[in-house]
C-alpha cells in the first residue's frame, strides 16, 4: 500500500511539476470556451442552448492533452521497465497513474467547468450539478484515456492516435454527462444521467487498469 501511495505521489509531482500540465489543460479549456461565442455568435439565447453541451465537449478534449506523456515519459527513460520489475503489479501502477491523472488533470478542469458553463449562458442553479458531473465524468475520462495512452506506447504520432482510439470510448460519458445537465436545465429528472455517468466511470476504474497493464507488458516485451 505504501508503495502504491509513493507511486501516486510521484505521478502527482510529475503532473504538477515542470510545465504545469494541469494549468496548460485549463488554458486550453479556456481557449476552446472562448472560441465558442466567436463561432456561434454572442446572442445569449443561442449560447444558452449550446453552452453546457459545448462546455462538456471542451472538457472531454482538454483531458486528452496531458495523456500523451502519462506512460511515454516512463517508457522513454526506462522507468516503466523498473516499475514492471518492482513489487507492485502493473495493474496497480495503472490504477495509480489513472488516479493521479484524475487528481492532477481532471480536478482543476472540473473547477473550471462551472465557470465556463456560466460564461456560456448556463443557469447558475445548474452549476453544482455541472461540477459534480465534471468531477465524476473526469474519473471516466482519465481512466479510459490512460488506457488509450498505454495502448499507444511505441506508436508513431502517439498523441493523435490516443485521440482516435479513445474518443469513441468517450461517447457514453459525453451522452450521460451532457444529458444530466440538459435534463436539469429542462426541469426533468437528472439523476439517471448522473447515475449512469458514475456507473460508467466506476466500471472504467475497475476494468481499464487490466487492459492498460496488458498493453504495457506488450510494449515492454
Amino acid at each position: 500500500m505504501s508503495g502504491f501511495l509513493t507511486l501516486y505521489r510521484r505521478e502527482l509531482d510529475l503532473a504538477w511539476g515542470r510545465g504545469g500540465g494541469a494549468l496548460l489543460a485549463c488554458g486550453f479549456y479556456a481557449c476552446v470556451a472562448a472560441l465558442v461565442p466567436l463561432a456561434v455568435g454572442p446572442d445569449p439565447e443561442r449560447l444558452a442552448a449550446v453552452g453546457p453541451g459545448v462546455a462538456w465537449i471542451a472538457l472531454a478534449l482538454s483531458t486528452l492533452l496531458s495523456l500523451e506523456r502519462l506512460y511515454e515519459r516512463d517508457f522513454e527513460d526506462g522507468g516503466l521497465d523498473l516499475l514492471a520489475l518492482g513489487p507492485i503489479p502493473l495493474e496497480a501502477v495503472a490504477l495509480a497513474k489513472g488516479l493521479a491523472q484524475w487528481t492532477a488533470g481532471s480536478l482543476p478542469l472540473a473547477l473550471a467547468t462551472p465557470v465556463a458553463a456560466l460564461l456560456l449562458g448556463g443557469a447558475p442553479q445548474a452549476l453544482p450539478l455541472t461540477f459534480a458531473a465534471a468531477l465524476l465524468g473526469g474519473l471516466g475520462f482519465s481512466f479510459v484515456g490512460s488506457m488509450g495512452a498505454a495502448l499507444a506506447l511505441g506508436a508513431r504520432r502517439g498523441g493523435v492516435l490516443i485521440a482516435v482510439v479513445v474518443l469513441p470510448l468517450f461517447c457514453p460519458l459525453v451522452i450521460f454527462g451532457a444529458g444530466a445537465i440538459e435534463a436539469f436545465a429542462a426541469g426533468m429528472n437528472w439523476t439517471p444521467g448522473l447515475a449512469f455517468l458514475g456507473a460508467y466511470s466506476l466500471a472504467a476504474v475497475a476494468l481499464t487498469p487490466f487492459a492498460a497493464a496488458a498493453a504495457v507488458r506488450n510494449a515492454l516485451s
Binding site: L151, A152, R156, L169, I175, F176, A214, N218, A219
Partner: protein, 243 residues
C-alpha cells in the same frame, strides 16, 4: 471439434485446407447476389415507401455484417491474445477493413435511404448514431494497428483494444438509445414498421446470406494474403541474414 479447430489453427494446414475456398465461396456469392438482386427488383413496392424500399436489401444486410464482423474481430482478437495464435491475429487483421467497409456501406446507403424517406441525408437517430460509432471503433482499431511498427506488438495492442470495444459496444448502443429518448426526435417521418411480408422478407434474407458468403470469401482470401505476406517477409529476412 476442438481438434479440428486447433488443427486448422496451424497456418500451413489452414492454407492447404482452404486453398480453394475463396474461389468456391466467391462463385456462390456471385450466384446468390444474382438471385438476390433479381428478387429485390421484382419484389412488390411497399405501400408506404414505394420503390425506395429496395434500398433496404442493400442497406440492412450491410448493417448486419458490420456488427457480425466486429464480433468476429473480437473473438479472433481473444484467441490471438490468450492463445497467441498467429492465424487468429491474421484473421483479426483481415476482418477489420472488411467490417469497416460494410459499416461504411450501411452508413452511405442509410443516408441515401433517409433522403427520400425522412427528407434529410442524415438524422441523428439512435441506430444511425450507433452505427457511426461502430465505424469509429473500426477506424481506431486500424489506426492503432497501423501506427506501431513492430507487427507482433501492433497485433496484441490492437487485440486489447478490440476486446475493450467489444465490451463497450453494447454500452454505447444503450447510451445512444437513452440519449435519443431524452431528445425526443422531432416530427421526422419514422420508418413505419409494417410487419414485413414474405415477398419483402425473402429477398432480404437471400441478400443477407449473399453478403455473408461474400464476406467469408473475402476474409479467407485476405487471410491467405496475410500469411503469404508474412512468409515473404520471413524469406527476405533469411536472405538478408545469409548475405
Amino acid at each position: 471439434m476442438p481438434r479440428l479447430m486447433f488443427g486448422l489453427a496451424n497456418p500451413q494446414k489452414f492454407m492447404s485446407a482452404t486453398r480453394r475456398l475463396p474461389a468456391v465461396l466467391g462463385v456462390a456469392a456471385a450466384l446468390m447476389f444474382a438471385v438476390g438482386v433479381w428478387l429485390s427488383f421484382t419484389a412488390p413496392e411497399d405501400y408506404q415507401q414505394g420503390d425506395t424500399v429496395r434500398i433496404m436489401f442493400v442497406h440492412v444486410p450491410a448493417a448486419w455484417l458490420g456488427l457480425m464482423v466486429y464480433s468476429i474481430l473480437g473473438v479472433s482478437s481473444f484467441f490471438a491474445l490468450v492463445f497467441r495464435h498467429a492465424l487468429a491475429d491474421a484473421a483479426a487483421r483481415a476482418a477489420a477493413p472488411l467490417g469497416a467497409g460494410f459499416t461504411f456501406l450501411a452508413l452511405v446507403t442509410g443516408s441515401l435511404w433517409g433522403r427520400p424517406m425522412w427528407g434529410t441525408w442524415w438524422e441523428w437517430d439512435a441506430r444511425l448514431t450507433s452505427v457511426l460509432v461502430l465505424f469509429l471503433f473500426y477506424l481506431g482499431y486500424m489506426a492503432l494497428r497501423a501506427s506501431i511498427d513492430d507487427e507482433q506488438k501492433a497485433g496484441r495492442a490492437a487485440a486489447v483494444l478490440a476486446l475493450v470495444g467489444l465490451v463497450n459496444l453494447p454500452i454505447v448502443h444503450f447510451s445512444v438509445d437513452w440519449w435519443n429518448t431524452l431528445h425526443q426526435p422531432s416530427s421526422v417521418l419514422r420508418l413505419g414498421k409494417p410487419t414485413m411480408t414474405a415477398d419483402l422478407l425473402t429477398p432480404l434474407l437471400v441478400m443477407g446470406v449473399a453478403y455473408m458468403v461474400l464476406f467469408f470469401a473475402l476474409w479467407i482470401a485476405s487471410i491467405h494474403a496475410e500469411i503469404r505476406q508474412r512468409r515473404a517477409n520471413a524469406l527476405v529476412l533469411k536472405a538478408a541474414n545469409a548475405a
